[in-house]
Amino acid sequence: MQKPKIAVIQFPGSNCEYETLRAVSDYGAEAGLLRWNVPEKEFHRFGGYILPGGFSYQDRIRAGVIASRLPITGFLHQANQEGKPILGICNGCQILAETGLVPNRKADLKIEVALAPNEKQKNRLGFICDWTYVKIEKPNKSLFFSEFENGEVLPIPINHGEGRFVVSAEMAQEWPDLTALRFCDQTGLENEANTPNGSTYFLAGIANVDGNVLALMPHPERAAWIRQMPSWLTDQWAKKKKQDFSAQTDSVGPWARLFQSMVKAAAKV
């Protein structure tokens, strides 16, 4: 059977494209790297798209804003209308927020979420590089979470300076029915202390209302294999890593299912 084709889009300044390619190809896709200035015909050969992490255009003006105005985002709008899965990780999340593809509540590409500099109580936190936990809310609303349970808590690394979700007043008043990832602790407790970057509503990621676009600040491609988990974590994943080490095996990590779900969705397009 032919594998579904998924493209990882490389912008000037992307730096996570190769491990993202590895993750999506190891979990079932025929993955290809596309440059930001790819011709439209070549772009549409793929059944799904990933915008990887990095610093597109050196984060000039604001993270993701320049990349979000490139012609390729017009191609992404079309892919979105066709229901193709689109995943934005870290800088890709910032780009998707600036394009209006998430949450896209009224299908008008209005900007309703922004990624502001990390900040708590009016104090800048700078760049954060750490492991956190996120809780998955309403996984059934997004095709990226077909393999996940509601309320599942998973470890995942973050690596960003501008990852504080801010949402529009309209969206805050009328919260849409969509999948969200929220920062929490190992037990699933969501609060300010467990939100490393000061994000509104503890948000770490958000899907669009149609469920085919997902923008998340943490890096699932860095938690797709057990060997990537840090040994100092005290959860089941760390125990599994120790078992793997003894048995000299390499099991799937907590976020492998995200890529597997995406591959399944791309196969249906």
Partner: protein, 176 residues
């Protein structure tokens, strides 16, 4: 009393270069001739020799700027303007400004200079082809290149967490 300090890079400002390229080539705002970016510090104090004290902080510390990479202009930004050009000066700052209390404390400890408050903003000086009506041109700039209202418009200010305000060029610019 408040002193204004406009700080810009000594070398080519890559942020301004990218802003220009994005506005002209991606947002198709062809009337834009030049764009300059400054860091605007509004320093409030009760010091009789305010400007001298700020100069002392600039020469003794790197807290306000790095003199190896940046240059400071007091009160006004020097900007050259041709006869067929107009200038629009935009200030962008966060709706919930970051506290500078720690910076004020560090400056006091290091230099003995006691500022009351420091407010920081980003200033964009947009030099455009002069139009018939300044108000219409300002509105056009806001909608097309300044305010991020949709995925196709505006790059300089995201209204979800930033404010964008026009400044009076006669008050803040030394036009040449």
């Amino acid at each position: 009393m408040t002193n204004n300090l406009f700080i810009r890079t000594l070398n080519m400002d890559l942020q301004a270069v990218s802003a220009y390229e994005a506005m002209v080539h991606l947002l198709r705002y062809s009337d834009l001739k030049k764009i300059l970016r400054y860091r605007w510090l509004q320093i409030t104090h009760a010091l009789p020799q305010g400007a001298e004290e700020i100069q002392k902080v600039l020469s003794e510390t790197y807290y306000l700027m790095n003199p190896n990479k940046e240059v400071a202009n007091f009160e006004k930004m020097p900007i050259s303007l041709a006869s067929d050009e107009a200038i629009f000066v935009l200030s962008v700052n966060e709706k919930e400004p970051v506290s500078q209390a720690e910076l004020v404390k560090k400056i006091l400890n290091k230099t003995g200079v006691n500022f009351t408050h420091i407010q920081t903003s980003t200033v964009w000086a947009l030099v455009v082809k002069a139009g018939v009506s300044r108000e219409t041109q300002a509105q056009d700039l806001l909608e097309r290149v300044v305010v991020t209202s949709s995925g196709k418009a505006g790059i300089l200010a995201n209204p979800l967490y930033q404010n964008a305000t026009w400044l009076d060029p006669h008050q803040y610019c030394e036009l040449k």
